[in-house]
Amino acid sequence: MEPRIGVFVCHCGINIASTVDVKRVVEAIKGYPGVVHAEDYVYMCSDPGQELIRSRIKEKKLNGVVVAACSPTLHEATFRNTVSQVGLNPYRCEIANIREHCSWIHTDRDKATEKAIKIVKSIVEKVKLNDELLPISIPITKRALVIGGGIAGIQAALDIANAGYEVILVEKNPSIGGHMAQLSETFPTLDCAQCILTPKMVEVGQHPNIKLYNYAEVEDLSGYVGNFKVKIRLKASYVDWSKCVGCGVCMEKCPTKVPSEFEMGLTTRKAIYVPFPQAVPNKPVIDRENCLYFKTGKCRICEKVCTFGAIKFDEQDEFVEEEVGAIIVATGYELYPIEKIGEYGGGKYKDVINGLQFERLLSASGPTGGGVQRPSDRKVPKRVAFVSCVGSRDPELHKPYCSKVCCMYLTKHAMLYKHRVPDGEPIVFYIDIRSDGKGYEEFVQRAQEEEHVTYIRGKVSKIYEDNGELVLLAVDTLTGEPLEVRVDMVVLGMAIVPSPAVYELAKKLKIQIDANGFLTEAHPKLRPVETLTPGIFLAGCAHAPKDIPDTVAQASAAASKVLEMFSQKELQHDPMVATVDEDRCSGCGVCVTLCPYGAREIEVKDGKRVAKVNEAKCEGCGSCIAGCPAGACQQRNLKDEQLVNMVKAVLE
């Protein structure tokens, strides 16, 4: 195509024209090879300015346009739309940035004008070799995968399902509900956690648009935005759930007792078990690790007592494949192991417990029916210490970040303890009190002023046992006094850490995790629920420690991002992707190793190895192109030749 390029130089009022001699730019570019027309106008982006461009394209039969104006960030889309209105391919229009990168940062009019001419020439060189492109259309599978069935996953799944799209919800445990199901009451309203959560769990279980895979894990993921293929491992439960009616006789008769995960080890469960009475689905699984039959080859009592023939000892893990268009990762958190805090006797003293254990002691459905008893001797503790920032805000030894919820839940714990044990004495040790949510500060004030909770500013240095009591050594940093406080029980506000499985999962999904193991968002301010991999979103504590309101808000935000995708007929993708000259390609595969998106593959074609580009996956970074030793890879409209010509033009 013989280039017939028109150059349109904008004054931007005086923004450009006061520093750059626009007339001189027009004159200088008129004779430049490939340029058949050049003119200036006071406001090129105005209606008359755009009309000027459209009419010149027709009159002069222009096949390329350069608008010398402000940054392409502002009006590239505007002018590409302008030229396409008269039939010119939008990718044959480019912007020469002579405002932000020239007139606004320079003062010497002569030199600024010379520089503006160079910028325009370089963009003319680019347009000369620009191809006519069309956006790449990608079909979308309008089904979503939600990984994790805690409150974040539940909320996201319900939002998408209620909008009319199918959702696949994968939960690794036998029941959905996550940690929220373990909580007693929630701050700052003291709503019963189960009362607000279980209806949502039931809704998920019964929703016609939600396919729930509980006791399952994501094994593998392939594909790309709009077109993911996910392989899910359904872990063998050894119970045929289609036959099981949930009568519970098997659990009653099972002779093996193991510590209950749901009750945080405060009580036991059987080897065949439902994690908690309100579980969804309410069907048991056999814990292979602890089942007597799997350990010794004898027992099978559950099988004998099951009148429905639901026990299947020969069951194997199964795999299913599902196609989805978008994924929400909501894999949640764990508490930092208490054993790592040796100076507090974590794991050594029975009455030094973590926050979730105390939740179970407070819960009406917990092992004590909501009456606070200390684990060692079931005595009602008369003094309880609540210690915040255990493992958090400790960059030297543990985690550098703030776990966000501990200040609030320890306040709640102290308050609820006081409600259960009115003559009890709760003491909270803190560094700062962070109460920045709606109604949170008032809640802390209430604990201090109305509920008579003692707050001591100071970090506990050591906890030891003495004569059936626990002794805390600390310094009150407001008075400077060293303290020795004797209590019956200690609750540690442990750091929140990401669910350990998230590391492997992130590798499978090709999403990023940060230095602390949390999932990384695409932009900390403006893209908080997206990952850098298109089509994969995140919600809840997998992203960072957060409370229930923030988790629910983020889950709904992630769901709305998925729905935004699903509201389109097909996805549009920038066509400036990598290309391969198959004759030049030696099939070395360097591009495959360089691509962060898995968009490059080697294919054998007529017995020859050649590199391929998956256009839907390619994000157009150009890494592979610069790395290709054979010069076989190019980027559409940013070819090597274009860039070299641009370099030459600016150095003329």
């Binding site: 960030t73 932000e100 520089k115 970074c621 150009g622 890494s623 370099v647």
Partner: protein
């Protein structure tokens, strides 16, 4: 070297340093017009060949600017850039081009001031180095 004004080609990543240069304009910061920006999608699009071409065609210095480590818009392109630039600096040395003429900087979209300071310092350093003379070798006679 009196009156010598070095010519700089600045390859800027669309997502960070290009935007930082835009912000320098929006903030009306002032720099000398010794440089021209060429926009790429990512610093890792910058083929070492472009840098050599710039030197061959009269550039006294080349700046490659990308996102800070860990912040790459394309996951890890900036690490590839880092490797390539480090290698190329060794090659430049062998070609008789002072490797200080090639600069790699991490400039976030918000760091307009860093962009300006980077250019200023680079201009100053290149003034010290003098014009690039490929035929004569790049020592400007200082070693005889």
């Amino acid at each position: 070297m009196e009156g010598f004004e070095p010519k700089i080609v600045a390859f800027c990543c669309k997502w960070c340093s290009y935007a930082a240069a835009d912000l320098a304009g929006t903030s009306r910061l002032k720099i000398k017009p010794n440089f021209v920006v060429i926009r790429t999608m990512c610093s890792s699009r910058v083929d070492p060949e472009f840098i050599l071409q710039a030197f061959l065609n009269g550039a006294d210095g080349v700046l490659v600017a990308g996102c800070h480590p860990g912040d790459c818009h394309y996951v890890n392109g900036n690490y590839k850039t880092l490797r390539r630039v480090m290698l190329l600096k060794k090659v430049l040395e062998q070609l008789g081009i002072d490797p200080r003429r090639l600069r790699l900087e991490w400039i976030a979209a918000s760091e307009s001031r860093k962009f300006v300071v980077t250019i200023r310092k680079f201009v100053d350093e290149l003034k010290q180095l003098g014009p690039l003379r490929l035929e004569a070798g790049d020592d400007n006679g200082s070693n005889g």
